[in-house]
Amino acid sequence: GQQVMQIPQYQHVQEGEDFTTYCNSSTTLSNIQWYKQRPGGHPVFLIQLVKSGEVKKQKRLTFQFGEAKKNSSLHITATQTTDVGTYFCKGSTLGRLYFGRGTQLTVWP
């Protein structure tokens, strides 16, 4: 069935380096959301993108929604140890929800 593919599965960076995770769908999404799950915690909503080509920023985090509304990315500039966790995208289409498998980010001090 339709699903949202997320890559990479793991990313290890040194503090100060940038980080990007990507989500891709085979079909057009109504919207896409991003969540962060700290180790041992539960997913916490970060942001939602709805419009084609939309770009939103939250401090060092930049979120993009593709023109065709089939892909999205989350970019973190100059990572910090507090960025550690798993980042999930969630797409919705035709009333169905699809979580990506997540990108687990590790940041070395």
Partner: protein
Amino acid sequence: SAVISQKPSRDICQRGTSLTIQCQVDSQVTMMFWYRQQPGQSLTLIATANQGSEATYESGFVIDKFPISRPNLTFSTLTVSNMSPEDSSIYLCSVGGLYEQYFGPGTRLTVT
């Protein structure tokens, strides 16, 4: 936003037994969701629970194994029945759905 609590936070159970997980929300919500998350994995939707109707189960999940109750707009339970070690996982309830979703802290279940 919504604040969600779950009980128990964790449990260790013997195979063949059942565990009921409770989910309480601080506001009235129409839809509640139950997810399972294996360590290091993504979230797998078990079922959607609407108040006053039968829960809707995803492929691979059945009511006999995961019965759900939704007696009112702020509460739901998920029972994991006749447990096996393969049921060891984190179970999360959630509200929201198509838009912003809020998750409970999860119930970490270990079946021995």
